[in-house]
Symmetry: C2
Subunit: 265 residues, 2 copies
DNA sequence: CTTTCTACG
DNA sequence: CGTAGAAAG
């Protein structure tokens, strides 16, 4: 049994003030992948940096207060690797992987963009260089007899069922045809990964994992499913439960994203 | 009878969220001088911009979110003038005067500085050019048979009794010998103004009007008296009450400065 | 709408 | 320590 949770915390320091630690103490996962930590380890309190009972691995961004991913594990990982080998993104705080017995788990924070901006170009460069790495990761895992799981905020909704207003968002970053096509490659023959939440819930809208803080997006469930756990087929086949932990109320929200939790048998 | 209150609000929008309007509604003054408004009129809610029963005159800084002075009057002023005629400071949001029957009341926010920085040079340039204006203001007032009152944050403690730790602050901006000497000129033959709070309370330490937000400065009354009402002698002679409205508790503080209130008979 | 940084105080 | 703007999301 392996339970993995992934959540974009939108600033770990802010999340900690609003209930993240309480959520973590009730969290039964073996591995927690965090995105948008937005802090260096030295800026975190000891309790937040290394919660009791957890090992913590961090990949901060070189730009202060930006991005940053981490992985918490109940047991010390066999290995920790930062980045995926592309110089532009090595210190961008967007990719970290840890080896656990038989499985490599990664925390990914794919850049967000805005059409017509340099940020979107960066997002596209990331996608372009990251897909070959995903392919390589799967190949390496196969050779070693391991499985791989890439969790995180991919900042792309794949299909119309993955966001509330797909029509209005066809020209918006996060649901552009080329971005959706890229995810199709990740999930198709080329990448060979399985979106385990969708695999277990093929016929529903959502479940969304992100709601804008603007307006009443959360109350109206005007969300996007942009946080995924992408597993190699062997691991995906062991998935017995996959869900998004939508907070019951706005009051207990400590991030604009919700945790995505998956149980593998 | 004329009651005038002056207070550095340290951001009028923030102050309004913390109790400024409640304080104002219990304020019996005829004139309220504000410093560090840190907003343009358009950024203020109607209630804050022009509280019921008040006329409001503003002199914002051209730099957004910086400085800014204002004067609230129960009756419409006869005239409103922004600046004191020195180009460098005309749009710096540091000086505004209004004519009321028989009296000109000004709201002043003298620059703060730090020794060895360009900010300190600016403070000194302000002092150098403002003193001649004070002299001119008094002369004009005398010719017109008027009185003048210059209220505000002068960012200088005059004497040892005007701050808690004078020894430790002798080399700090706000208590430098040259700054203290300048205030002595304002209050001496050259300027001819009267510090009305000190005139009525000659033998006490303080009363302080500013306490840093750092540490426990307010609780320990580790403050500075840097907010003054400087009056022409004729007006000062009519002063029957002069006090600093130190908040009873940290909880009811809505600024790091306290209002200075003076009653003229 | 929110977080974080920065400048200023 | 706190305010406000900016950049980012």
């Amino acid at each position: 049994m392996l339970t993995v949770t992934s959540v974009n915390v939108n600033g770990l320091r802010a999340a900690a003030k609003k209930g993240y630690l309480e959520w973590l103490s009730g969290c039964a996962a073996d591995v927690v992948c965090l995105q948008e930590v937005r802090a260096e380890e030295a800026q975190l309190t000891e309790e937040v940096r290394r919660p009791a009972g957890w090992h913590a691995s961090y990949a901060p961004a070189s730009a202060k207060g930006r991005a940053g991913v981490a992985v918490l594990t109940r047991r010390a990982p066999e290995a920790v690797r930062v980045g995926f080998g592309v110089p532009e993104f090595e210190s961008s705080g967007r990719y970290l992987e840890v080896d656990l017995p038989g499985t490599t788990v990664a925390s990914l924070y794919l850049p967000s963009g805005e059409v017509g901006t340099e940020r979107q170009d960066e997002k596209e460069r990331f996608m372009e260089t990251f897909l070959p790495y995903l392919v390589e990761l799967r190949a390496k895992a196969a050779v070693d007899g391991r499985e791989a799981l890439v969790c995180g905020d991919w900042n792309i909704a794949h299909q119309e069922a993955d966001l509330k207003n797909w029509r209005a968002n066809r020209t918006k970053s996060g649901f552009l045809p080329e971005e959706r096509a890229w995810l199709t490659r990740v999930l198709g023959e080329e990448g060979g990964y399985v979106d385990v939440v969708r695999a277990l819930h093929p016929d529903q809208d959502g479940p969304y994992s992100w709601w804008s803080y603007r307006g009443r997006a959360f109350d109206n469930d005007t969300g996007w499913r942009i946080d995924y756990q992408m597993a190699t087929p062997g691991l995906a086949g062991r998935c017995v439960k996959a869900q998004v932990e939508r907070a019951a109320s706005h009051a207990e929200r400590w991030s604009d994203h919700a945790p995505v939790t998956v149980v593998f048998d």
